[in-house]
């Protein structure tokens, strides 16, 4: 349970978006949780290598060799790692894909352009952001009310929500069985009440909402309250 919650923090930590009490609590969790620590070290290693090993004047053969070593290291890690929760395994696989994409991108850039590869890192950051939004849509399918609630609360803190993530939140607002999750989804969507798609979704959700506490909140955000 704690590990599921800290996966988002792990990604936030890699993106440099974790600070204050969140960072301290994450460190406390790592100190007590060996599987999470292992995962953090593994991802951090890849992350740092991506940032430091991409050369200004690339040596294609050396990059190929490094890529092969990284794949080998991953394969060995996967074979020898302790059993980890299923969701963590999915995140790891997704991160591997993102890392491989980034390395592939770096190789491509290196082969055709001698400029430094800062854009590759920026692209990787965008990939990770996209991955987090994908994690959101996946987490909204969890059976656990607490898991879905945690995911939606995390969405409230995301600066950017792509259209797919907004659709996923609208879907949660309309269909999630928990009033608390629907209310949290509404709070996450409220920032985007100037998006016509979101407004239309809020109107549809209001029409079918059975809980007055959610229905009234939708009306407030739409500016359509009757009690003025």
């Amino acid at each position: 349970m704690g590990c599921e919650r800290n996966l988002d923090r792990l990604l936030s930590s890699l993106l440099g978006e974790l600070d204050g009490e969140d960072a301290r609590r994450f460190e406390r969790h790592l100190a007590a949780c060996a599987p999470c620590r292992l995962e953090r070290d593994r991802m951090l290693g890849i992350w740092e290598r991506l940032g430091t090993e991409l050369p200004a004047a690339p040596d294609r053969a050396a990059l190929d060799a490094r890529f092969e070593r990284m794949v080998e290291a991953y394969a060995a890690g996967v074979r020898t790692s302790a059993r980890v929760p299923a969701r963590m395994a999915r995140v790891r696989r997704a991160f591997q894909v993102a890392a491989a994409l980034a390395v592939g991108l770096a190789l491509g850039v290196a082969a055709h352009r001698p400029a430094p590869d800062v854009p590759a890192i920026a692209d990787l950051t965008a990939e990770i952001r996209a991955l987090r939004q994908e994690l959101l849509t996946t987490s909204l399918q969890l059976d656990s009310t607490f898991g879905r609630l945690r995911a939606v609360q995390h969405a409230q803190e995301m600066e950017v929500l792509d259209p797919a993530a907004r659709r996923a939140l609208l879907d949660a607002l309309r269909h999630d069985p928990s009033v608390s999750v629907r209310l949290a989804a509404l709070d996450a969507l409220a920032r985007f009440a100037d998006d016509p798609t979101v407004v239309a979704g809020l109107r549809r959700a209001r029409g079918r909402e059975s809980a007055p506490v959610v229905r009234d909140s939708i009306a407030e955000i739409l500016g359509e309250t009757d009690d003025i």
Partner: protein
């Protein structure tokens, strides 16, 4: 190479029945894997649910139908009818599978009281669709409770709580001061009365639409940070009150449409 494969064994027991009013059902469910905490998931269509944590290792489910009308009794609605005839139907089903006990209880006419005794670490997700309250005592796992036409009371909670009461208040006494997951309590028509240990660490998010908010904790409340615009024609400022308690932590949302919110600091001697 010899490979040992442990096959999961699902112990499933099902019982159901239709009985006359005032009989009591009791059934005991063992966990498939006693070394891991289990879950109880279910609903009562007409009646209340009480869940009590205990030091045992099995789930005990008991159904007590309220005493119905005596056979032959009719309720007169008019001098010459029509007369309302009594119904005694009751349908209870429950089974255990991979450490999850699932139950359902339907009785269209007579409300029932469903009692559960569970090992303390059990996580609970139960719902009463009408005609009764939810009570949970001494259960330490996460609690997910919905009462469509009643109130909710929780005591001795160690884990997070999601509670929604549509026609009553929520009273919750927590013994834990930190949670690993968010807590969210909503009420449509009733007070929210919660109690936490003095060293609670959390982010409180509070809103009483037609009521007031009281706290034993010395808080420095601040407004919600978000300005909201809808279609460019109106401005909406978030109506939640936020407050960080001690070091902060997971969010605890308390929201009632009609009622007060009271946050007590427990003495630790309860």
């Amino acid at each position: 190479m010899t490979r040992r494969i442990a096959l999961p064994i699902a112990l499933t027991m099902v019982f159901s029945g239709a009985v006359a009013a005032a009989e009591t059902f009791e059934h005991r469910f063992e966990w498939s894997n006693p070394s891991r905490p289990g879950s109880v998931v279910g609903f009562v269509a007409n009646g209340g649910i009480s869940v009590v944590g205990y030091d045992g290792d099995a789930v005990v489910l008991e159904v007590r139908p309220h005493r119905g009308p005596e056979p032959g009794a009719v309720e007169e609605r008019a001098d010459r009818g029509p007369w309302r005839l009594p119904q005694w139907g009751l349908d209870v089903a429950a089974h255990e599978d991979q450490n999850v006990v699932t139950f359902s209880c339907r009785s269209p006419e007579q409300p029932v009281e469903l009692l559960l005794r569970v090992p303390r670490p059990t996580s609970i997700r139960v719902r009463s669709d009408g005609g009764g309250d939810l009570r949970v005592e001494g259960v330490h796992g996460p609690l997910d409770l919905t009462a469509a036409e009643g109130g909710i009371s929780v005591s001795g909670a160690m884990g997070p709580l999601v509670a929604d009461a549509r026609n009553g208040g929520v009273v919750a006494r927590f013994e834990a001061s930190r949670f690993e997951l968010p807590t969210s309590i909503t009420a449509l028509d009733g007070n929210i009365d919660v109690s936490f240990p003095p060293d609670l660490s959390a982010l409180l998010k509070l809103r009483a639409d037609h009521g007031r908010i009281y706290s034993d904790f010395a808080l420095e409340p601040r407004p919600g940070p978000i300005e909201r615009r809808a279609e460019g024609s109106s401005l909406y400022l978030d109506k939640y009150t936020l407050a960080t308690v001690n070091e902060g932590g997971e969010q605890i949302l308390l929201r009632t449409l009609s009622g007060d919110i009271t946050i007590h600091r427990s003495s630790g001697e309860e």
